[in-house]
Every structure is written in structure tokens, then in C-alpha cells.
Symmetry: C2
Amino acid sequence: MRRRPAAGDDSLDPADWEALKRVFHDAVEQAVDHLRDIREAPVWRPTPDAVKARLEAPLPRAPEALEALLARFAEDMLPYGTGNLHPRFFGWVHGSGNPAGALGEMLAGLMNCNLGGRDHVAVYVERQILRWCKEIFGFPAGASGLLTSGTSMGTVIALAVARTARGEIDVRRRGLAAAPRPMLGYASSEAHGAVAKAFELLGFGREALRQVPVDADFRLSLPLLAEMVAADRARGCLPAVVVASAGTVNTGAIDDLAPLAAFCRAEGLWLHVDAAFGGLAALTPDFAAPLAAIAEAHSVAFDFHKWLHVPYDAGCVLVKDEAAHRATFASRPDYLAPAERGLAGGEPWFCEYGPELSRGFRALKVWFTIKAHGIDRLAEAIARNCRQARLLGRAVESHADLELLAPVGLNIVCFRFVAPGLGEAELARLNRAIVAELQMRGIAAPSTTRIRGRTAIRVALTNHRTTTEDLAILVSAVRRLGPELLAAEAAPAAALLPLATGR
Amino acid sequence: MRRRPAAGDDSLDPADWEALKRVFHDAVEQAVDHLRDIREAPVWRPTPDAVKARLEAPLPRAPEALEALLARFAEDMLPYGTGNLHPRFFGWVHGSGNPAGALGEMLAGLMNCNLGGRDHVAVYVERQILRWCKEIFGFPAGASGLLTSGTSMGTVIALAVARTARGEIDVRRRGLAAAPRPMLGYASSEAHGAVAKAFELLGFGREALRQVPVDADFRLSLPLLAEMVAADRARGCLPAVVVASAGTVNTGAIDDLAPLAAFCRAEGLWLHVDAAFGGLAALTPDFAAPLAAIAEAHSVAFDFHKWLHVPYDAGCVLVKDEAAHRATFASRPDYLAPAERGLAGGEPWFCEYGPELSRGFRALKVWFTIKAHGIDRLAEAIARNCRQARLLGRAVESHADLELLAPVGLNIVCFRFVAPGLGEAELARLNRAIVAELQMRGIAAPSTTRIRGRTAIRVALTNHRTTTEDLAILVSAVRRLGPELLAAEAAPAAALLPLATGR
């Protein structure tokens, strides 16, 4: 069917399209089999030195056959991923991916759309995803939004809009140095590091984000916030924005959103909700109520790649004040002038709502994920993780050699192995070693954190493949490794060697 | 092989893995056939209203079969993309994609790695890509870098580092308002809008970016820059950063980089090069020399998704001063504490070099693209586009009814259709109408811009599928449409109707 290109022209397309398809088909077989059999594999294994060495080769000048590259991928890369496909990956808050989303990613790669703007179908798909998100969080139809690489960028965008909406000057034109008084933000001491990073990036400076202490359940203390805001006003500053956490990273705590929203309304403060992973628990019966007040916020940012299991990366920001959102980012030089008809139509363009002009078709993998599973089934996977967290919490409490370090509010369980006679420093070292061994031996992959000064084994359940059996394997492995590592420490140094270099 | 999950557990994985593979295989057949036959399709067609209506359905609660979703995709989406797969897409500066890159995107989707950090193979792949980029631009091995969504984010990151390196206070902690005097940046009046947007986002404000006039070839005027810097110093400001363009968006002009670099060295200014698309022409014999001085810059940002045809989105930023780069973004709270062994190893983490904590495996599609074609073949596709631009420029000059509006420096041709007796406003309207008609009829997709007040048909050749025949089709269509549209305007208003609503 393809017309012969003129002499001297030679595209990057293959000479043999059927051969190309065969490589794709082989790749599908290999990568889907890997996923199917993931339960039998170690949760993580270190990348071999030989693979690292091959990945130090210089810039290749000559082409290589796609078949050979696929073989290289299958041998060198596929087995050595982050581990988050595995049912016993509990580290940080990683989503587990899903094949329907990966299908969307493949099709997006072949379609190669640019969603900075213009009039083409991909734009309508992203708009549909945004409407669905407004539906989930009770945002009005007129709210604006954007798919982002994740909540970190969503937070930058939302706080940039807050700067526009609450600033006393035209910050975009004149810069922060021209402001008559400093703008301040507030978030709890348990807020995610991305909030402080956004304050830094936007030029406010980290010190302009005031840390509000938390209550016994690790939730932002509203009385203390009120005190701080009043004191800052009294000393001539401009309290401008509160960032609430809907699921803190350490313990899954959900700030008390409704009273916070009322306070922000009364004080004229912009309320942004960091709903990175926890926000989507609003889809479950148990957490619909505490998360309902997200609807009262000015903006919310969250991730699809965590608890909706869309392949990395995919997040979203929603902003109620569309005009402020657009006023923060819109800018259409001559070469991007809109047109009434044709490809340059499609107003408004997404590049008017964020810093990026070129944007991939991230919306397609979200569309495939939500359509293929339906939101009810995705919500049930979230609810199941919350039930599993409570189950694991109870299991921890039932063993004298395990100690629960924070209440299990959502899907995160922080605990540690304890043994008589060990001080805090020794317990910290031991529990870090337990986590490293769990990972090195490929048994499970929790992460660590510190809770009120104590080092915790942190199990974040954002994994649709995890079963109750997986939790039992984790608990028994921790209880076996604790004494084993203590015994190894007590033994002569040489005995430690195979453990310390256990790759 | 897969162990039966415990009762009550139910992952998002398919019950029938072979059925899942069949959908992937069908998707490969459809999307690859679409690509193979793209030359026979219109370059662009408007998204039908029925499709738009279907994309307004509310949040789906129930699952849908993947087969049905693929059919929906094939019917509603695949034919209505951005158009940039087509050999006669010349709009803006869009890459054309390539199947090897799409294969990488599929595998990344199935592997679902998170490249924020940690110790897994994807991190080593991204590091390899960064080393290759340093090789291309003559950056030292110790330079740092990051894959980004594109040059817009790369520019934000680079200018944030410049703020750290050239600032007189700890901006990250204290904010821009605490600076003793305003920091200023300089870029030519032809610089991309992303530079001003970065200044806005970072809190400098747009006015802190001073517009330097250009010479007859649309290149930043160094004498005028020197005057402005001296005057700004004299009035107590802090000149801090110069952004040079390696390929302006309007005309493809390349700023005179070597003298600029010398000036910046002498003046203690940070030199950032916006090499979004043009920088990679350094790989071709004709442009290696004018682009060699990118090696003397402090930072450079560019896109893989433009002239290397990696599927959207994929860009990169390189920074020579790794310490300043890391000092701008590094921040490791308790829950991200590094470990010597296991998954939490792998120092340094990529999240220490940019605002994002979760990051997809963008590096894999870049790896597949560069390995499959080899950099020499990719460079030849770039060189071919430059030859085609010169050819098109000469064709325009050979016709009395066409007028070249800017010198053809790189790969961009700005011209217009002219007819006796038409004023500037009429010519502008006519040429905009010609471009809209070219798009609406699916013949070709150039864009428009304004060059020194004149509306131009802008042909950006970053398309590996374009042949000389495609250029001939474009030229003859423009020369046919000009008189046709003029005649239609002269005819009774009713005759215009089918044209104006030409969908």
C-alpha cells in the first residue's frame, strides 16, 4: 500500500512492516508472561554488574536489529525492575500497574499525539478524564485541570495558581520580590516533601511554608494553625495558602478537611489538598466521609499511578477557579496563534494550564485503566488494601516481638521488630537491616521511615496483587530475620560477610 | 503457573492471560497498519461530533471488555490524531515518532518502573541516555542531567539551578523576596515562550527576563546584550543568566554561541542554551560548527520527541555544575532515607535533580530509538530535513506568487502567497485561510506565525517521512488555493459557506 518514497529519501520506518509486527508480538509474549509469573519471581534483585557494564557503552553510531534489542531488554532489563509489579512490594507508595493501562501506553506511543493543544481526539480524551476526576472529588464542571507527571508537578501548578489568586501584585509579571509583604503557606509537619519543594521552586522559599504540628493521630492541628495564622498576620505577613494532606506519606493520616475548609473560607486562604494517593480512597465506603470535604478545596492534586495502578507516570491537578488557573499559565505567542478552523483550533489549549508546551497522550492509559476495570472494581482494590492494612496491624499487635508504631488509619502500617535489652539505636539498625535483607533475599519490599524518632518498617499497601497470604509471609519473615540478624551480629565478624555482601 | 490467590482476594490482572495477549496482538496489527498506510490518509481530519459526544460519558462504574475498548479506540481515536505521523505534517515543531520508540513505550508500560530513585535497572538505562547526551553536546562526564517531559521543564530546572548558582542568598530557603537586588536574565526577542514562562514560574517575574533585539538573521545581538547588561549593573541589578537559542522557533536561527559564551564567562553570567529542536543538528556536518559552543554553556535543554522522533513526551536537561544542580533539588525526608544495600540504594536518586519524585521509564523509548536506528541514521534524517528546507526555500523563490519571509537557516521555511493589489491585512487573512484549508482538506499541515509583522505560512521540517514529492504537493496546493480562495471571496457570500464550515 505504501507509495515508494522518492529516490534519496529514506524514513526511519521499517522496510518490512510484518517483521516489525513480529517483534512487537514477541515483546508482548515476553512482557505479559513476566507479569503473569511475577508471583514466582523474587520481589527485587540487584542489577548484575555485567548489565551495568553493558549500559556504559558509548553512543551507538550504527543501527541494531530490533530483535536483538528486544532480546537485550528481556535479558538485561525485564528481571531487574523496581519490584512494584510483585504482590509483596510494599515500599514507599508505588502502584502495581495494570495490563489495560500498558495497552493504552503502547497505543499512545504508536499514535504519538502532542497534547499541548490543538484540535485532535487526544485532547477530548484528556478532557473526559478531567471530567471524571471532577466527578470523583465533587469539583464543579467549570473547574479546570491538567494531567501531570504526578502530584509533585500538580502541587507546583496548584500553588502557582494560588500565588496568582492570593497575591497582592501581578507576580507573574513583576516577580515575588515586588510583593509588599511575604506570602506564607501552611502544612502539617507530616506533609509530603513535595510541598516544600514546590515552595522552593516557585521562589517563595522553604521558610515561607510554615510547619504546623500534628495531633496524636498525625493530623494537622487546627488550633495551632489558627494561632500561627493570627501571629503571622500580626507581624505583617500575608497568610495565603494551606496545604492539607489526604493521606500522609508516613502513616496515611487524613487531615480533618471540613473544619480546615471552613477555617480557610473564613480567613480568605487558598486550600490545596495533597491527595497524592489517599484521595482516591474517597471512592470507598469507609473513607468517603472523611474525604468528602476535598470538594470544598480550591485545588487538589493526586496520582493515577499509585492507587489506580495506571503505569508510571500519571497524575492530575484540578483547580476550581479556571480563570485564575489560565491567568497563571496562558501565553500564546505568534507561532501558537489560535485559529477558528483546522488543527490550530481546539481552544482552550492545555499548555495554557501548566508549564509544558509539549505533552504526551498520558490520558490514554488512564482511559484504558478506568474503562477496562470500571471505577467500582478499582475502588474495591483500594478498599481491600485498607482491610489488609488493618489485618496486618492486628497481626503486628498479636506478636510480642513486633511493635506497632502508629495507628493504622488508611493503608500504611508502621511497625518494628523488638527484642529485650536493645536500645533505640540498636533497634533502628536492626530494623533497617531486616528491611534490607527482605529486599536482598527477594522476600518482600517494605521501606523504612522514622515515626516520632523511631525507625519503622513501613508497609504501604497500594498493591492490587497482594493477598492475605503475602502479609503472612512478610510477618513470619520479619520475625525470623530479627533473631537471625541478632545472632549473626553476636557471632564473629567473618560470619557477617556473606550477609553484608549478599548479592 | 500462577498460584491461586486466597479467597476474597481479586487482583486487577486478567483471568485469562492468553486472551489478554490476543488483544495486545490485535492492537499491534491495527496501530502498525495505521502507521504503514499513513501516507494514504488525510494529514488531519476533525474529530467527528459523535466521537466527541461519546467522550462526554460519565465516569464508568462497570468494567468493559478490553476487546470492546480496543475497537472503540480504533474507530474513535486512531484516525483523529494530531497528524504528526503523516509525511506532510509541517506544523509547529512536532516529531514524527518511530516504531522502535513505541516498542520501548509499550515495554515501559508493562514494566511500570518508577525512576524517582532507588536501585533498579531503569536507573542505569537513564544514566546511559544522559551519558550519550553529554557525548553529543560535549559536556563533561561529571555533568548532571535528567530526562524531562520536554524542554519547557528542562528550562525550568536549568534556570532554577542558575538561581542557586548565581543568587546572592540561599533562595531555596529564604525565597526571592530576600535577595538584596533583582536577578535578571536575557534572551533574544525570538526566544521561545517557554523561557518567559520559566521566569514567571520561578518567581522572577516576566519583567526580569530582558528581551535583547536580534540582527538581520534573527540572532541575538551581542553588542546590544552587552549594553543592556552594563546598564542593568549600573542601576544596581544583578545580571545572572543568558538564554541562547539554538534554533529559534520562528525561523530556526542559531544565536552566535561562541562569542556569547565568551561574553558570559567574562561577565560571570550563567549561559543556558535552549536547544529544544535545533541543538541536535550538531550531529550533522553542516551545523556541527555553529552548535559546537553548546559545550561551553552551563546548561542545555532539548527534546528527544522532536528531531529524534522519540514518541511524546521526552526531553532532557544537562547541567555542568552537578553540585549546584543537586543543591537546588535534593531533599531526602525520613521516608526516602538512602540505604547501603537493597532497593533503597542506587545513589544519587533522580528526584534530587528535579521537582518530580515519581518518574516514568521515559528512558526506555529513547534507548530503543537510538539503539535501533543508530545516531548516524538519526542524524541523516535531520540533515535531510535541512536539505529539504533549502530546496523548499528555492522553490518558493522561483515562483512570483510566493514570497520568502525569512532566510532558511536550518529547517524552517516561512513564506506566503502573494497577489497584486492585496494589502498586509488581506494577505494575512488569505494566508491564514490557505493554512486552514490545507489542514481541513487533509492535504498538508503547516502552521502560521508572524515574521516582522507579516503573517507567514510556516513549514517546520522535523519529519523523517517527508519526501521531496511531499514538498512539491505543498507548493502546488498553496499556489492553487490562493487564487481559489480569492475567487471565493469575490463571489457572493453564500458561496463561502461550504468553505467556512468545511467539515
